[in-house]
């Protein structure tokens, strides 16, 4: 289990590294300034920013794999995000809320106190948990 986890992470990193090469590979011999560096922090060396983003992609990818997302999907998701987005996400991924909606059932199953509080706050229009409460 541990080993296959390590294998997955390594594989992910290698694939990301390969895609990174296609990003920085010069178009026609000389070096093009890629669009994505246009919005990177001006004071910081643009290429260092991109390397940091690559590492962030690996972190985010590993976290997504732990969330049960397939390797193929992880790559597609991570590569759809810009360098800035992926660096922000790498810092936040453990605290970001996952929009879920377990349905009313999970809340009804909570202890009666919470049920009553939420019912009360629903009636006040502060929360919106129970569909049968008209807001």
């Amino acid at each position: 289990m541990q080993l296959s986890n390590l294998f997955h992470k390594t594989a992910l990193f290698l694939v990301l590294l390969m895609s990174f090469h296609t990003i920085v590979a010069p178009l026609a011999g000389a070096a093009l300034i890629e669009t994505e560096t246009l919005v990177s922090t001006q004071e910081v060396d643009a290429s260092r920013d991109r390397l940091a983003a690559l590492l962030a992609r690996e972190d985010v990818g590993a976290a997504l794999q732990e969330h049960g997302v397939s390797t193929q999907e992880v790559l597609l998701r991570v590569n759809s995000l810009t360098d800035q987005e992926v660096m922000r996400l790498a810092q936040q991924i453990d605290v970001l809320p996952a929009g879920a909606d377990g349905g009313v059932g999970s809340v009804v199953g909570a202890i009666l106190f919470i049920f009553l509080v939420l019912l009360f706050t629903d009636l006040l229009g502060l929360t919106d948990v129970y569909p049968f409460v008209r807001k």
Binding site: L27, A28, G29, A30, A31, L32, I33, E34, T35, E36, T37, L38, V39, Q42, E43, V44, D45, A46, L64, E66, H67, G68, V69, S70, E73, L76, R77, V78, N79, S80, L81, T82, Q84, E85, L89, I93, L96, P97, A98, G99, A100, D101, G102, G103, V107, A110, I114, L116, V117, L118, F120, T121, L124, G125, L126, T127, D128, V129, P131, K135
Partner: protein
């Protein structure tokens, strides 16, 4: 009787303690009302925990693109979290060629809705210590009655008090997501953030990003970053003449813009116009910028080509 008043006093006291911080909401400025009270966004019922994929599917279906839930769910949903992260919604939108535009201002959300664009919001419908997370779609509002029209994977359209929506939205972190088909721009928009959003779309779908860049450059012809990015895209699309025009449009206003100078030099080198390429590269190297090493590399390549013309090896 006494017991009842004691209980209600305790509950009110508890509520005040819990919500002291969000008791008052800033005033909301409504845009002119939407033509129909609520947009006719089709209802797509969700599977358990999959309000994220359902919200995206509904917005896309309203825009005329029917992407089935079994396609969207693996792109958006995180099984172990039993929920969907916001960046996954953004990424999925882009993978289907839609521009993802995040909104943190509720008045701006209503402006998009008034313009006929449904907006996904993340709500915490419960409490900060007992969160009930949910992605819903804002599809309309009634300023006079103070109502907002919501739909989501678990509820067909319903009118909710706007102040309730505002509170649950604030508790959810003030996050809204507008998904736009190729070429469409948000109503409330600034060029810097638009460039970042277009770069994100371009990562997944170059073809879909192109009309977006074209619209953005037409609206902000003086924005150097947008025009340079558009030039890069045109070049990759195999249109060197159009790319050159985009770079030169930047340089007409900002002659010392290093990315435009460098990329023009690189393009001209490829086209074999070495004298012009050399002039642009020299100008790029002369400016102190974070791109100096790249510009120097470009200049070296041009000098090498000048020393060894491909026609006379």
């Amino acid at each position: 009787m006494i017991l009842r008043s004691v209980v209600s006093a305790v509950l009110i006291g508890a509520a005040l303690l819990l919500f002291g911080g969000c008791a008052s909401l800033p005033p909301l400025t409504y845009p002119p009302p939407a033509a129909p009270p609520c947009l006719a966004v089709p209802y797509i019922p969700q599977d358990d925990f999959q309000c994220g994929p359902a919200a995206v599917a509904m917005v896309m279906a309203y825009g005329g693109e029917s992407v089935p839930l079994p396609t969207l769910a693996p792109e958006i949903y995180s099984p172990a979290l039993r929920g969907s992260l916001q960046p996954a919604l953004i990424a999925a939108g882009r993978r289907h060629g839609w521009l993802a535009w995040e909104i943190s201002d509720f008045a701006a959300i209503l402006q998009e809705v008034a313009a006929g664009r449904p907006v996904i919001i993340l709500q915490n419908r419960g409490l900060s210590w007992k969160p009930v997370w949910h992605y819903a779609v804002v599809v309309g509002f009634d300023a006079a009655k103070g109502l907002t029209c919501l739909t989501s994977g678990r509820e067909e359209q319903r009118a909710v008090a706007t102040r309730t929506v505002l509170r649950t939205w604030e508790r959810g972190g003030r996050w809204g997501l507008l998904l736009l088909p190729p070429g469409a721009l948000p109503v409330v928009v600034d060029p810097d953030r638009l460039l970042a959003a277009l770069i994100g779309l371009e990562r997944s779908d170059v073809v879909a990003a192109r009309p977006g860049y074209a619209a953005a450059v037409a609206r902000w012809p003086d924005h150097a970053g947008l025009s340079t990015a558009y030039g890069n895209l045109l070049r990759k699309a195999g249109e060197p003449a159009a790319a050159e025009a985009a770079y030169r449009a930047v340089l007409a206003k900002e002659p010392r813009h290093v990315p435009a100078l460098n990329n023009l030099a690189d393009l001209l080198l490829e086209l074999g116009r070495l004298d012009e390429a050399y002039a642009a590269a020299v100008a790029a190297v002369a400016v102190d910028s974070p791109y100096r090493s790249t510009a120097a590399a470009t200049l070296r390549e041009i000098e090498r080509a000048q020393a060894h013309p491909p026609d006379h090896p």
